[in-house]
Symmetry: C2
Subunit: 569 residues, 2 copies
């Protein structure tokens, strides 16, 4: 059987666009002689639709879209992802389903069993898990259709009490097809290949795996769909971070290699094994070039899809002459084009001359428009207006924040005037410790590098410079500073970033507690101070814009902590 894998980029809730994309692809597949086309999870409505699923109108539109696509299935099977209704009174109203369309009708439906409900996922909020399983017969083959997470319940710490492929095996399928919306993080691609290979080896069946591609607010799907032969050989890997298609003949996926059970169980035991707890290795792990290259691709796609899918063309950002804004500007220029990214330089009395020069040089290298607006007069105006209340107090955080918020106000005014979107330039180390000003440098519509620790921002800057110097060398070498008071350095307030980022990684990505981190050899006072800062500043992050997610644990929808609490704080 000739199966055509369609790895596409959908738009959530944009049924007409998604339908058109899918039908166009079906027509193309027909011309190529395909017998079955497969699309990714919830392809009809886009993933994740979140609470739109609670609207009857939304479900009706999804059903209407499936019906339209079915009209094109007279001569070809089409496997689409869509929400379907639970006919039972008990349980939630919907299933997350794969629907096989053929000869104009629904020929078979498989419901998702394992509903991820961790990190950014909320599927149990909407869907009833499947509790019966049937292969779908098509053209003489019995297909075991599963959806994303369904094939991930392997290894030492199974999250679920059932395994849908084990159930489907009772009906002796010939082939596995998994349709997914599996998001990118810089560990995930290798994990994913390994999980799929393990399924192939466990069940001794070919696997055709169709993933989504494209960014939806914070979540980036990286594509990389896979075709495995029954012997565990990877036959084809589709593109990462872009749309792609592939036609495969399933008869050529039957394997012959005998696999020993021992090998399987050994590999299975390695799954989801904790990564190193050796602090010395963490910086290298966070900044290795393979990861940084993937991160860069994810961020560029994340910016591009944010603008494209919201209908904006132009971005604005504050260019301080520091490393963070330099990296964001460089990525934005790649994603949107130099002419579409305006940088604004807003020096104050505390800005060093080289900061302005560096920012100017950067924009000259990139060829993007820039403007300079000094904030000195505005800052003095605020101090004068506040003098009746502030007189007799010392310069402090309030005065620092006035400068930052004045810049935020200028940037937003320009964005509002010309319909630009303000790109935020905060990094994960700052967001973690609260080293930023709410409504000031924390303003913006999209955070580009909010999931990168400062050490990763440096690594990414070097990576962006690998072919030629785009980011001026001085930006890479000078000590980080917010430049909100005379001779300020980040290290006046924060530990050195190498050390800080290691601690933050163990606390945020790895959820280690203070005693666990101290036992790795870190200073106790440093740990207590750092963890306290992270927890106290939850209120700031709660008002922060969406962050393009590239790690296993980004701030935002995937990390949910109480603001009013007292834990390690």
């Amino acid at each position: 059987m000739k199966v055509y894998v369609a790895q596409q980029n959908y738009h959530i809730g944009n049924f007409s666009l998604n339908q058109e994309k899918m039908i166009n692809e079906v027509k193309l597949a027909k011309q190529l002689g395909a017998e079955l086309v497969i699309f990714s999870e919830l392809s009809v409505c886009g993933y994740p639709p979140r609470d739109f699923l609670e609207f009857e109108d939304f479900i009706l539109q999804a059903e209407a879209t499936v019906a339209e696509i079915a009209k094109h299935s007279e001569e070809i099977g089409i496997l689409v992802g869509a929400p379907t209704r639970n006919p039972q009174k008990e349980g939630k109203d919907l299933f997350n389903s794969a629907i096989l369309l053929f000869e104009g009708k629904i020929q078979g439906v498989a419901h998702k069993t394992l509903l991820p409900n961790y990190d950014v996922f909320d599927e149990y909020r909407y869907f009833e898990p499947a509790y019966f399983w049937n292969v779908i017969p098509f053209k003489g083959k019995k297909i075991a259709v599963t959806i994303c997470e369904d094939i991930w319940n392997l290894g030492d710490n199974p999250l679920y009490r059932v395994c849908p492929m084990d159930e489907l095996m009772k009906q002796s399928p010939d082939l596995m097809i998994n349709i997914s919306a599996s998001p990118f993080d810089y560990d995930h691609d290798e994990d994913r290949k390994e999980v799929i290979r393990l399924n192939v080896m466990k069940y001794r069946l070919p696997m055709i795996y169709c993933n989504a591609v494209g960014a939806h607010t914070e979540i980036v799907f990286d594509g990389g769909s896979l075709v495995y032969a029954a012997d565990g050989e990877l036959k084809h890997e589709l593109n990462y971070f872009s749309e792609d298609t592939y036609l495969t003949e399933t008869d050529q996926l039957i394997g012959s290699v005998e696999i020993s059970r021992q090998t399987i169980s050994k590999i299975s035991a390695d799954m989801r094994v904790a990564k190193t707890t050796d602090p010395a290795k963490i910086t290298g792990y966070l900044t290795n070039e393979n990861n940084i290259a993937q991160i860069k691709a994810a961020l560029v796609l994340g910016i591009r899809d944010y603008f494209l899918k919201l209908g904006f063309k132009k971005a604005i950002l504050g260019s301080s002459g520091g490393i963070d804004s330099a990296v964001v500007l460089t990525l934005a220029v790649e994603a949107l084009g130099a002419e579409n990214v305006t940088s604004i330089l807003m020096p104050s009395a505390h800005s060093s001359a080289h900061s302005v020069d560096d920012a100017v040089q950067l924009s000259k290298n990139l060829g993007n428009p820039y403007h300079t607006i000094g904030i000195g007069n505005l800052y003095d105006g605020f101090l004068a207006a506040l003098d009746p209340l502030f007189s007799g107090t010392n310069f402090g955080v309030a005065e620092e924040n006035i400068q930052s918020r004045t810049r935020g106000n200028l940037l937003m005014a320009i964005a509002n005037k010309f319909s630009y979107v303000l790109l935020n330039t905060s990094n994960k180390s700052e967001l973690a410790t609260g080293y930023g000003t709410l409504y000031g440098d924390m303003a913006g519509g999209l955070s580009v590098i909010g999931d990168l620790y400062k050490t990763q921002v440096y690594a990414l800057a070097h990576y962006l410079n690998k072919d030629k110097e785009i980011i001026p060398g001085n930006i890479l070498t000078k000590a980080p500073s917010a430049e909100l008071r005379p001779n300020q350095k980040d290290s006046d307030s924060l530990p050195e970033y190498d050390l800080l980022d290691q601690v933050l990684y163990f606390y945020i990505e790895r959820r280690k507690g203070p005693s666990e981190i101290i036992s790795m050899g870190f200073d106790e006072a440093l740990i207590k101070k750092t963890l306290r800062l992270v927890n106290l500043n939850e209120y700031k992050r709660n008002q922060f814009c969406p962050i393009i997610r590239v790690s296993t644990k980004a701030f935002g929808v995937g990390r949910r902590l109480p603001i009013v609490a007292k834990y390690l704080s």
Copy 2:
């Protein structure tokens, strides 16, 4: 058996405080001759602990707290709520449990079966649902212990496929105890009483129901714990919105009234029935005095606990002379004391004289400190700074927003300088339609009335004035205006609030789609415009502060929609 119901206000993650509160109450209960003390759901760590549950350190502290409390159980049973570990390899790592402590040891444990995972709830993110059930024997009685949602699976649209009380009935219990953390909304108290009564009537057993009280960021627990006799008679109802305790003798809860099965099924069918779809009735429903009185109590508790539990004493807010800031100021003064709430008047050239006068009169009525800072010069400064970019453009939203953000900058500067918390004054109608300025009037640490439609804000203002005029009459009667351009009125941009709020209610609380709302008799263009505004402005609400939740569907953690999407927009 003498059972002591302890309805307490906990602090999330503050194990030492919670432990002290619980042990003190156990000592008091002993003195009163109680044989069993019951505390609410997850009392040991506070509810909802959210992702703190993913930290091993947090679980260890919860276990240590249970062990400390157990030391006080030598002569008295203590039923506490705590996370416990799932000993099985399969499934999630934790249960949400009720633990019976007696004679210094754990005597029995019941795990929660029905894990709410809708609206503000995420329990399936952390917990494995119970799949075995046992009554807990104590002092010759068999107690059916359930946790919150476990008793809510009645009626026409059961969310779950199991019913834990049905399972427990197989072991012939003598008594039902339910420990809860059941949040307030202005419909919920009546629902809750009805659900508990229905359980009593279905199982013909007494029910002792212990709820939490207190506010945690956005969620307000309203207490109102209940004791029902087996015949369905309500024996006692504990206080709402404050801590309370009650000692009951279970022998006096055995009922004698015969209940007909028909009555039960009839009432059961009425549960969770949709409320009216008659638009003419909605305004009356939203503003009825019983609901408004409860909302007021919830908001005062919400403000008070936010400050108390975060360790702040003083609030600041912008007082515009409009209805929203007047209501927030009045509530804040009640919650924190007049001396602890500073209002700042920030007139511009577009402010009418009466606005300032009204704001001054309000603060005189309340006796709270106020200051006036004109923003004219600052606004002119921004326009001058932006002139190189803005010259030749017309006055528009950008200029309006500069005024609003200048006020935000001033308020935040004062808040930062003196460690005040800025209270936000946006209402739900504005938040829904995006009629507000990000980082301007949308700034603040806590939104007090962000879950009240404008018509409800008026009703609350009248309620606050019911004994004497606190809010000046002029504020109640003048047409709403943002005063950001000459002679501006809200009705220039938005439909009249009566009509708008009805539409918003059907879309937000009731999740009706456009065709459903139009079929109620609303104008099609109005519906399309309104729903589009709501969906387009998701990005603004995403950066908004926590909102004290009083309705069945507040903006914030309980309503999760994609920002990058195209649905009804």
